[in-house]
């Protein structure tokens, strides 16, 4: 249906060349109109981001100048970074975010694959119930788990620890489901052949199964990495020790303590969102496929 709705073909009679040029003209006009509309829409979508980047470059005086100063007089990124570092240990927050995202993503990918393999390629009593239970966890809104989860973590003595940040948010039903689905299509003969060759079960998993599901592993890594990097509510409630703040939480307290320094807040936000934005722009296809998969899990 693609081009038909855009171009209405007039009847072919009489002078062909006049018609052809009229069609071309009409098509061009439609194209220009469409582009104009999309350019306006794109401007609306990108304006807040451009405004943030501009703000990150300005001095604090320029941010609050009246009348408004659209462009920074000089690009003060380095100076703003130094000023921000004077107020909060930003690099420490960044490091914490990297640690949490890396370990949580690795754990999520590894354990989801492990559990997904068990569900896809083995028969054992109660398997169907366990799988149904995992799927059911997707239907329960997070409010209900949040309070209980906090108390569990508190009782384990995990408040204000890295593992308290990482472990309770690590595994998701979707991750396990994705792994199971991608492993179902691996031929059993392949696994049996490795058994006959005398490979251990765990070795079969790491050396044969995992390499076959690389695309699914990559999808899960992208989704889990983004989710953990952006996570806000969980770190906010389990961490009160400033040295363990992740970026979102650290910036939140920057806002409440130094709320008028919008130039520094914008710089901090910009640096915080760059990794995810870069990953999206580089792995756009995988990123969007992952988003669609996680959306349409039912």
């Amino acid at each position: 249906m693609s081009s038909q709705t855009l171009v209405h073909r007039p009847p072919r009679n009489g002078n062909g060349s006049v018609w052809a040029s009229a069609v071309a003209l009409r098509r061009l006009a439609q194209q220009v109109l469409l582009w104009a509309g999309l350019l306006v829409l794109s401007a609306v979508m990108l304006a807040p981001l451009v405004w943030m980047i501009g703000g990150a470059m300005k001095s604090n005086g320029e941010v609050m100048a009246i009348p408004i100063q659209w462009l920074p007089s000089e690009i003060r990124l380095a100076q703003n970074y130094r000023d921000m570092m004077g107020r909060i240990p930003y690099t420490r927050y960044y490091l914490n975010s990297v640690i949490v995202a890396v370990f949580a993503t690795a754990g999520s990918v590894f354990f989801s694959a492990l559990i997904g393999y068990g569900l896809a390629k083995f028969e054992f009593p109660g398997k169907r119930y366990f799988f149904g239970f995992i799927m059911a966890t997707m239907m329960v809104p997070s409010q209900l788990t949040l309070i209980g989860l906090y108390v569990v973590v508190k009782n384990l003595g995990w408040l204000n620890t890295y593992h308290g940040l990482i472990v309770p948010e690590m595994l998701t039903a979707f991750g396990i489901f994705l792994m199971r689905q991608s492993m179902l299509v691996i031929p059993d003969e392949l696994i049996d052949a490795a058994r006959i060759d005398g490979s251990g079960e765990f070795r079969i998993f790491t050396a044969i199964v995992l390499p076959l599901v690389k695309p699914a592993l990559a999808t899960l890594a992208i989704l889990a990495g983004t989710a953990h990097w952006d996570s806000f509510l969980w770190p906010l409630i389990v961490i009160s020790d400033k040295r363990l703040y992740t970026l979102p939480v650290g910036l939140r307290f920057f806002l409440s303590d130094y709320g008028s320094y919008y130039n520094e807040l914008m710089l901090g936000s910009l640096l915080a969102l760059l990794p995810v934005l870069a990953m999206f722009l580089i792995f756009q296809r995988q990123f969007i496929r992952g988003v669609i998969n996680s959306g349409l899990k039912q």
Binding site: S3, L6, L46, F122, Q143, L171, Y262, M266, L273, G295
Partner: protein, 299 residues
């Protein structure tokens, strides 16, 4: 013992061993979901009937928490604000997402570029997006008052005017997630086979007829899914309310999730917070059932 029998017992024994191995692979998941899902959910459900405060032992108080809700004006305010937000966000993102998907389902030069641009806000973390929009909405020196002045729009103060603050948060959500729903709808549209449209066109069906009798019915499952997901997402909105407006002015943006957070982690009333969580889950379940009925009735 015949050869066949010995073969069978050997296979049974091997299956047995295999079953244990399979269980071994799944075991981390069983432990994980028991400890970090099942136990927390059961705890929260039971605490909703207690006065648990995290310090002293929870004491059973029956339905007192739920009775208290009816007279708690902060809670009632939270329900109203949350419903305003959900009603503002859900229809808007579905309509914009669907229209964008219809547009981007057609071939035109620059399609990939514009699709990327429209999707980009979804990639921005909700926390960064909240800071950006707080800066955009800043009275006098923000981007919004400048644009409003330039286009002769009313100078609405989304941060400090209680009548409009929640709609300021709605705008942020529309900006952030429209591209996401566009991509979801687009994947659905691309699954509709082109042959259906061609066959209908041969039968003389026009664009509108084809849309009405092919596109809409086939998109129904995705519509239902998006309706549910968008509602749950809007219901759980937290970061923008906390970071853009701080729940203010005067509670005008204190959505339920923010009230739950304050009740639990600021005032340590975990029994009552659990009851609020149970209430939210019941509402969401009810809405999901209503949606399923609605969409089914039409088909």
């Amino acid at each position: 013992m015949t050869a066949a029998e010995s073969n069978r017992t050997r296979r049974a024994r091997r299956m047995d061993r295999r079953a244990w191995i399979g269980l071994g692979f799944v075991l981390p998941g069983i432990i994980y979901f028991s400890l970090f899902f099942l136990y927390p959910v059961i705890s929260a459900l039971s605490w909703s009937f207690t006065n648990y405060d995290l310090v002293t032992e929870p004491r059973y108080i029956g339905l007192d928490n739920f009775r208290y809700m009816l007279n708690d004006r902060h809670f009632i305010n939270g329900v109203i604000v949350t419903f305003k937000y959900v009603l503002g966000v859900v229809p808007s993102v579905i309509v914009t997402g669907f229209l964008l998907a219809l547009l981007f389902n057609q071939a035109f030069p620059g399609r990939a570029f514009f699709r990327t641009v429209i999707f980009v806000p979804y990639v921005i973390s909700i926390v960064a997006a909240s800071f950006i929009w707080r800066y955009v909405y800043q009275p006098t020196y923000g981007l919004w008052p400048q644009v409003a002045g330039f286009l002769h729009l009313p100078q609405i103060n989304f941060l400090n005017d209680g009548r409009y603050a929640i709609w300021g948060l709605v705008i942020i959500a529309i900006w952030r997630v429209s591209g996401y729903y566009m991509v979801i709808f687009l994947s659905g549209l691309q699954n509709i086979s082109a042959e259906l449209y061609e066959a209908a066109a041969i039968d003389g069906a026009g664009t509108i007829t084809r849309f009405r009798y092919i596109t809409l019915p086939l998109m129904k499952p995705i519509m239902l899914f998006v309706l549910i997901v968008a509602t749950i997402g809007a219901f759980q909105a937290f970061a923008p309310a906390l970071l853009v407006t701080g729940g203010g002015p005067a509670g005008a943006t204190r959505v339920l999730q923010l009230y739950l957070y304050e009740t639990g982690w600021l005032f340590l009333r975990f029994g009552y917070a659990s009851a609020i969580a149970v209430f939210m889950v019941l509402i969401l379940t009810a809405l999901t059932i209503v949606y399923m009925r609605l969409v089914k009735v039409e088909t």
